[in-house]
Amino acid sequence: MLIRTTISAIHILAFGLVPTSIFSPAGTPAHSIFDLSMFVFAITGTIFLVVAGLLLYALIRYRNQPGHTGREPTQIYGSNQIEVSWTVIPILIVVVLFLTSARVIFTTQAAPKPKKALDVVVIGHQFWWEFRYPKLGIVTANELHVPVSDPLHPTPTYLTMSSADTDHSFWVPRLAGKTDVIPNKVNVMWIDPATPGLYLGQCAQYCGTQHALMLIRVYADSPSDFAAWVARQKMPAVESADAAEGEAVFQRNACINCHTVAGTVATGRFGPDLTHLASRDTIASGALPNTEENLRGWVDNPDHYKPGALMPPMHLNQHDLDAVTKYLTTLR
C-alpha cells in the first residue's frame, strides 16, 4: 500500500494528471499489470545498474593512458567458470520472471466470469465504436457506460469484440491492457472500474486514415446512475413538434441509409446510432464536444473536423442544415 502511494505520488510529480497513464490503474486488470510492471522494472533496473556499472568501470579503468608503453595487454581467451556463471544466473532470472508473468496471464485471461457480469458487444468501425447491450436492448456509440464494480460483489463488464472492417484495438490504459478488435475473429476482455468516473482511451491498432481520432470514453457510473442511464437509453427516440421539419429533412436525405434512429424509418448501420445522440458528451468518436455548433459543422462537412472520416459532406442548404441540427439536438 505504502509503495503504491509513493509511486503514485512520484507519478503525479513527474507526469502531472495524465488521464491515460498506465501508472494510475483503476481496475483489476490494470492493477495486476501495474504490480507486475513494478516487479519487472525492479529486476531490469538492477540488471542495468550492475552491467552498466561494470562497463563504465572497465572503460575508465582500462582506457589507454598517455605514456603507455605500447606493449599489448595480456591476451585472455575465455574462462569456463565465469562463462557458466553468467549463463546460469540469467536462466534463473528468466524462470522467476516467467512464472510471475504466467500468473497474471492466467488470472486475467482465464478468470471465471461472474454471474452478474454485464455483457457488451463492441464493434470497431473505421473510425468509431459501436456498443450494443444485447440483454438490455441498447445500442450506442463511442461512449461506453458501465456500472462500477464493487470488489466485494464484482459486476465486471465483459466486452465481446469484433470489427466491421479493418483491425482496431480497444485500449483504455487505466482500466486494462489492450485487446485487438479484428474482423472475422471474436475477442473477449473485461473491465471493472471500482470508482465512478470517466476513463479515456483510443484505438491502438492502425486502422486507416483517421486512426488518430478514434477515441474511446468509458463512463463508470454508480449503480443508480447506471440504472437511470439504461432506462433513458431504452426509451424510443424523442418526438418533438418543433423538430418535425428537421426530422423530415433527415428522412428525405441519405442520412437514414447510414444512421439508425429507433422507431423511425432511419435504420442504417454504417454510421453511429443517433437515437439518443443528444445524451452523449461528444461526437465523431470523441473528436468534438457535442454542441449545436459542432453538430451543424459536422453535418455540413465532416472532413473539416476529421479528414478522411467515412461520412460524406451532405451538401444541405443553410435552411435544411439548421433544421437537421435542431432535430439532432432533440434526440435525448
Binding site: I22, I33, I76, F98, T166, N184, Q205, Y206, T209
Partner: protein
C-alpha cells in the same frame, strides 16, 4: 605462418581494361561489375541515399507531432510517411547496408578472391535495387498511370484487411508488395551467396572454428534469411492473388483471416530483427577487440550464442501478437520463448565486457560508437524483456513505448554499430581515414540527439499514446515529451550531415590509410587499401583466428592457445 602481404597488380586483369576516366565508361564498369567489393560499395551507397530520404520522412513526422493538433501534414500524408519510412529503413537501408558490408568483408576476411557466385551477386543487388525504385515510383503512379500518384499508407507491416482492394484501392499497395517482394528475392540471393562462400571458399588453414566472428555472424544471419524471408515472399504472393485473382487468404469480407497475415508477417518480422542485428554484433566482435588490444573473450561461446539466437528467434514471433487474442496458453509460451532469448544475448554482452576488461582501450571514433552500442543495446534488451512480459505488453504494444524500444535496437544498437563500422573499414574501402575531429562531432551530436529522442519516447507510450497517430489532444499530457523527442531528431539530422560531409571530404583529402591503419588482426588488413581486384595474388594460409597477430607476434602466436 605464411600470411600474404600486398599483392602485385599483375593479377588484376581489369587494369588493362580500365577506362581513362570517361564518365560513361566508369559507369559501364560499375553497372557491369561482378566484383564483390564494387557490389558491396554500391549496396552501401544505395542504402545511404535511401537513408537520407527516410530520414527526411522521419523529420517531417517529428515536426507534425512536435505540438498537439498540428496541421503541418494531412492525416493521409502522415500515414504515407510512416509507411514509407518504415519500409524504406528496413528493406532498403538496413538490409542493403548490412549486405554491402558483408559483400565487401566476408571474402576478404576468409581469404577468398570473390564470392562463390559473382553473377548471382550482381543480380541480387540490381533486383533489390529495382525493388526500392519501384516502391518510390508509387509516388508518381500509385493511382495508376493516368491519375496522380500516392505512396502506400498501409503501415510497414501492412496488416490485412487494410491491404484488401476494398480498403486500398489504386496501386499504391501493389507497389509496396512488389517492392518488398523484389527486395526479398535479392536478399535470398545474397544470403545464398554468402553461405556458399563461407562454406566453400575459405583459404587454406581457415577452419570454420578459425573464421573471424564477423563471418560467423553473417553465416548465421544468412541461414536465417532463408527461413524468415521466404514466408514473407509467400505472403506477398498470396496478397497479390487476393487483390487480383480473387483469392481470399486475407480478405476478411470473404471469410479470409487477418490473423493469418500477422503470423506470416511476424514469422518473417521477428527473425528480421536478428537478421539486422547479428551483422552489427559481427562488427562489434571485430572492432571492440582491436581497440581494446585483446582477443575476443569466449570465442566458442560467442559462436554458440549466435547459433542459439538464430534458432530461438524462430520461435518468438507471436510476442508481436500478445493483444491479438491467441489465448493464455499461447501467450505464456511466447512469453517464455522470448525471455529465453535474452540468455544468449546476455552472454554476448558479458563477453564484450570481458574483452574490454584488462585491455588497453583506444577511444577512436569507431570505438566510441561501439561503446555507445554496448550501453544502448543493454537498454534495448532490458526494455525488450519488459515487452516480453505478456501482461505488461498488453499495455505497451502498439504504443510509443514499442516505437522507442525498436528504435533503440535499430538506431541505438544497429546504426551505432554501422557508424562504428564505417569509421573502421572506410580506410580499407577508400584508402583514406575518416577525419577523427569531424567524427567526434558526429558522435557526440548523434549521441545527444539519439538520447533526447528515444529515451523520452518511452514516456508518452506509458502515458497512453498509441503509435501511428498523426495528431493528439492537448489534454493528454504528451505534448512536452513530444517536443523533446522532436528536438532530438534535429540534432541527429545535423550529425548525419556532418558524417556525409566527412565521408566526402576524407575521400579526397583524408589522411592516407596504408594497408593496416588500426594495427588489426584479420586478413582484410593484409591487402592494400583499397584492395586490388581479386584481393589476393597468392591465397593466404592461416593457423589461428588472428593471422596478423601471429605475424606480428611470432614469439607468442595465437595458435599456441586455440
Amino acid at each position: 605462418m605464411a600470411t600474404q602481404t600486398p599483392v602485385s597488380p599483375v593479377a588484376d586483369r581489369t587494369t588493362a581494361l580500365r577506362p581513362s576516366g570517361r564518365m560513361l565508361e566508369v559507369l559501364h564498369e560499375w553497372v557491369t561489375t561482378v566484383d564483390h567489393k564494387k557490389i558491396g560499395l554500391m549496396y552501401i551507397a544505395y542504402a545511404l541515399v535511401f537513408m537520407l530520404i527516410a530520414g527526411v520522412q522521419a523529420l517531417l513526422m517529428r515536426i507534425q507531432l512536435a505540438v498537439p493538433n498540428n496541421h503541418f501534414v494531412s492525416p493521409q500524408e502522415f500515414n504515407r510517411l510512416f509507411t514509407m519510412h518504415g519500409t524504406t529503413m528496413v528493406f532498403f537501408v538496413g538490409m542493403p547496408i548490412l549486405f554491402g558490408f558483408g559483400n565487401y568483408l566476408v571474402p576478404l576476411m576468409i581469404g577468398a578472391r570473390d564470392m562463390a557466385f559473382p553473377r548471382l551477386n550482381a543480380f541480387s543487388f540490381w533486383i533489390a535495387g529495382f525493388g526500392g525504385l519501384l516502391l518510390y515510383f508509387s509516388y508518381f503512379a500509385g493511382s495508376g498511370l493516368y491519375a496522380a500518384g500516392t505512396a502506400p499508407d498501409v503501415g510497414w507491416f501492412a496488416y490485412a484487411p487494410l491491404t484488401a482492394r476494398a480498403f486500398s484501392p489504386g496501386h499504391s499497395t501493389d507497389y509496396w508488395t512488389l517492392g518488398v517482394l523484389l527486395s526479398g528475392i535479392g536478399t535470398i540471393g545474397t544470403a545464398l551467396n554468402i553461405v556458399t562462400t563461407t562454406i566453400c571458399m575459405r583459404c587454406p588453414g581457415m577452419k570454420m572454428s578459425r573464421m573471424p566472428l564477423l563471418v560467423w555472424l553473417y553465416f548465421v544471419t544468412c541461414c536465417m534469411v532463408f527461413v524468415a524471408v521466404s514466408p514473407l515472399t509467400a505472403a506477398q504472393i498470396m496478397l497479390m492473388i487476393d487483390r487480383y485473382l480473387g483469392g481470399h487468404f486475407f480478405d476478411t469480407q470473404a471469410g479470409g483471416s487477418a490473423v493469418l497475415w500477422m503470423h506470416f508477417f511476424w514469422i518473417f518480422g521477428h527473425p528480421e530483427v536478428y537478421i539486422l542485428v547479428l551483422p552489427a554484433f559481427g562488427f562489434a566482435n571485430e572492432i571492440i577487440p582491436v581497440f581494446s588490444r585483446k582477443a575476443i573473450f569466449g570465442y566458442p561461446a560467442m559462436v554458440g550464442a549466435t547459433v542459439g539466437i538464430g534458432f530461438i528467434s524462430l520461435s518468438v514471433w507471436a510476442h508481436h501478437m500478445f493483444s491479438v487474442g491467441l489465448g493464455p496458453g499461447a501467450n505464456a509460451f511466447f512469453t517464455f520463448a522470448t525471455m529465453v532469448i535474452s540468455v544468449p544475448t546476455g552472454i554476448k554482452i558479458f563477453n564484450w565486457l570481458a574483452t574490454l576488461w584488462g585491455g588497453n582501450i583506444h577511444f577512436t571514433t569507431s570505438m566510441m560508437f561501439a561503446v555507445g552500442f554496448l550501453f544502448q543495446f543493454l537498454i534495448a534488451g532490458l526494455t525488450g524483456i519488459m515487452l516480453s512480459v505478456a501482461p505488461f505488453d498488453w499495455q505497451l504494444t502498439g504504443s510509443y513505448f514499442v516505437v522507442a524500444h525498436f528504435h533503440y535496437v535499430l538506431v541505438g544498437a544497429i546504426l551505432f554499430m554501422i557508424f562504428s563500422a564505417f569509421y573502421y573499414w572506410f580506410p580499407k574501402m577508400s584508402g583514406r581515414v575518416l577525419v577523427e575531429k569531424l567524427g567526434k562531432w558526429h558522435f557526440w551530436l548523434f549521441l545527444i540527439g539519439f538520447h533526447l529522442t528515444f529515451d523520452f519516447m518511452h514516456i508518452p507510450g506509458m502515458l497512453g499514446m498509441p503509435r501511428r497517430i498523426y495528431t493528439y489532444e492537448a489534454d493528454r499530457g504528451w505534448a512536452m515529451w513530444n517536443m523533446i523527442i522532436s528536438s532530438g531528431a534535429v540534432l541527429q539530422a545535423i550529425a548525419i550531415l556532418i558524417f556525409v560531409y566527412n565521408m566526402v571530404w576524407s575521400y579526397f583529402k583524408g589522411p592516407v590509410a596504408g594497408p593496416d591503419p588500426w594495427d588489426a588482426w584479420t586478413l582484410e588488413w593484409t591487402t592494400t587499401s583499397p584492395p586490388p581486384a581479386y584481393n589476393f595474388a597468392v591465397l593466404p594460409t592461416v593457423e589461428s583466428r588472428r593471422p596478423l597477430w601471429d605475424l606480428k607476434h611470432p614469439e607468442d602466436p595465437d595458435s599456441n592457445y586455440e
